[in-house]
């Protein structure tokens, strides 16, 4: 399989840093992601208004100089709610991707390296989890164990495992056919050592790209779960919940349906650009300006 490429010479962190500064995707992505992260962290110490305080007299105000993005049907400041919502989304996505990578990648790589009945078992279990549509799994999971942000993390994380396992498996299988792996085998290295020294570094690119997709998917699914009322629970604000509340008010307060959506797009877009930039920086083939 040709989507996998191996690196020529080793690079120092200094070289990579130089390239990072020149890469536009990376720069814009890092800027956006940094802004979202900063807002999320800032919300722990300061928000323009208190999001737990209801001010019914001030409800459904269109955006102005006091409430930059307006107020909702309880008179809460939308901008402050978006700031607090950011940290919920990020937390859920980070934990979910970590679960998926930490368990999925070693399983997939091991299955490709051993090709025994054990590897078959791993990949079949994988197919099995895979057979459950992600959101359906998450919906069932939260229905059984109760809707909460923690359960959303676990549910999204479980569905991330087979994604990374499959990718690591497919990528490793292709790499095992390459000449440089054969030469490593001829030189007497064990399969475990080859996996760690040669397979894993070469899977990095594709894992980064997939990691980015899964991270943004994590944010999207969290938003979806919260939209359905199964993720982050009130009174904690979340982007998805804000959108579902806005839906009934679209005829007279369309701004409520706009800003949380923009926040989600902003966060996901930033992460994706960051991932793309990282891929360009890591991938020597792309750097040669193919």
């Amino acid at each position: 399989m040709s989507e996998f490429d191996f690196q020529g010479e080793r690079e120092t962190w200094g070289d990579l840093g130089q390239k990072a500064l020149k890469n536009r995707s990376f720069f814009i992505g890092a800027l956006i992601t940094g802004t979202v992260l900063f807002m999320a962290l800032l919300s722990f110490f300061w928000t323009p208004f208190d999001v737990t305080e209801l001010d019914i007299g001030n409800k459904l105000h269109w955006p102005d100089t006091t409430n930059w993005l307006g107020t909702d049907h309880f008179g809460r400041d939308v901008f402050s709610m978006l700031m607090v919502g950011a940290r919920n989304s990020i937390a859920v996505a980070i934990v979910a991707v970590s679960i998926g990578m930490a368990i999925g990648v070693p399983l997939g790589a091991a299955a490709a390296a051993s090709r025994s009945w054990g590897s078959n078992l791993i990949m079949r279990t994988n197919d099995f989890i895979f057979a459950f549509p992600s959101l359906l799994l998450a919906v069932l999971f939260t229905a059984i164990f109760g809707p909460s942000a923690i359960n959303a993390m676990i549910a999204i994380g479980i569905f991330n495992i087979p994604v990374f396992a499959r990718l690591a498996h497919g990528g490793s299988l292709a790499l095992w056919q390459r000449e440089f792996i054969l030469s490593a085998q001829t030189s007497g290295k064990s399969r475990v050592r080859i996996t760690i020294e040669h397979i894993m570094p070469n899977l990095l690119n594709i894992l980064i790209v997939q990691g980015t997709i899964q991270f943004s998917l994590g944010i999207l699914i969290e938003a979806g779960l919260s939209y359905l009322g199964l993720g982050t629970q009130p009174p904690d604000p979340s982007w998805g919940k804000m959108l579902s509340e806005a839906q009934t008010m679209m005829y007279f307060a369309s701004y409520l349906a706009i800003f949380p959506g923009i926040a989600i797009v902003f966060a996901v877009l930033g992460l994706n650009l960051l991932g793309d930039g990282l891929r360009d920086i890591f991938d020597p083939k792309l750097r040669r300006g193919r």
């Binding site: 040709s2 459950f132 229905a143 299988l173 679209m250 959506g261």
Partner: protein, 319 residues
């Protein structure tokens, strides 16, 4: 012969997966809180009436015997009777399938029709204007949650312009046109993120293939640029694209759960949500099993397609 054995093994695996899945689904759904007998008779029911109904429904029987009764029924198309609607589950599912299946087919075709040409154009015009603009659009497409996109579509096309219905399903008996019109916005909402992901995968896979030595060989032996692109480039780039297509089917099913709720479409996704809310467990387990079976079947097809596109993978299974 090798192909035959490969498929036979793959089918056997799928079958085993399905059996294990059915047991797990049955077990998981038993954990769900809620008593079906209480649900049917209401909160004020007498304890002895409840007990009698539980006995009649076979809820007191041991786990394995309830499982076998259910699964044997499923094999002959009898999924049991819904607790809340008092109609056969199979009837409910079949009725809803006429909404969800056309919706899924419309969304998947729409996304493939957009994505494959977009990806090929982007890769063949690498770093030029078409590539940059297509990539810009896909970035945006991936970042937009489909339910928010659906809300925006409703805001623009149903509320402001009033071209389309904001929700609900006209029904196929009103006319195919009316049915398709009520599914148009939901299908677009589902297709956009899918098309964006698929186009990106198509592009990056094709870019990798284009850099391969055999592409140079193909050109050197006198093939035109177009023939090289389609016969050697696109064909080989299809392997990662197929994986994603398989993946997307399950995202599509997940997507319908939200989208059908937004548009008030009486489809399978909405049925699942209602079944969970109403603790209609017998509907829920039948539905989940059906969807899982669909995903397993699609994965089987994807693997079969793999082996056809790249014979090396088939061989790898045998070493």
């Amino acid at each position: 012969m090798i192909t035959f054995i490969f498929f036979l093994r793959r089918i056997a695996f799928s079958f085993v997966t399905l059996i294990v899945a059915s047991i797990v689904i049955f077990a998981i759904i038993q954990i769900l809180p809620g008593d079906p007998a209480q649900l049917i008779l209401g909160m004020n029911a007498q304890e002895d009436t409840l007990a009698a109904l539980r006995e009649q429904m076979g809820l007191n029987a041991p786990f394995y015997s309830r499982y076998f009764e259910w699964i044997l029924g499923v094999m002959v198309g009898d999924f049991g009777t819904s607790y809340t609607y008092s109609v056969p589950v199979s009837e409910l599912i079949l009725e809803r399938l006429w909404v969800s299946l056309p919706l899924a087919v419309m969304a998947l075709s729409l996304s493939t029709l957009i994505a494959i040409p977009a990806g090929v154009i982007a890769a063949s015009k690498h770093n030029k204007l078409p590539d940059v603009s297509i990539m810009g659009f896909t970035q945006l497409g991936i970042a937009i949650p489909n339910f928010w996109f659906a809300m925006l579509l409703v805001l623009v096309f149903a509320i402001k312009l009033q071209w389309m219905p904001a929700g609900g399903f006209a029904g196929w008996d009103v006319g195919i046109g009316a049915g398709i019109l009520s599914l148009a916005l939901p299908a677009i909402a589902l297709a956009l993120p899918q098309a964006s992901i698929l186009a990106r995968i198509m592009r990056s896979a094709l870019l990798d293939v284009l850099a391969e030595d055999y592409m140079r060989t193909a050109r050197a032996k006198g093939l035109t640029e177009r023939m090289t692109l389609w016969r050697h480039g696109v064909r080989n780039a299809f392997i990662p694209v197929l994986t994603i297509l398989g993946l997307q089917f399950s995202f599509l099913i997940a997507g319908t759960i939200i989208i059908e709720n937004i548009f008030y479409l009486p489809g399978l996704g909405r049925l699942i949500f209602q079944a969970i809310a109403q603790r209609d467990l017998i509907v829920l387990q039948g539905l989940v099993l059906l969807l899982v079976a669909a995903v397993i079947f699609i994965n089987l097809l994807v693997d079969a397609a793999y082996a056809m596109v790249d014979p090396r993978i088939k061989r790898a299974y045998h070493e």
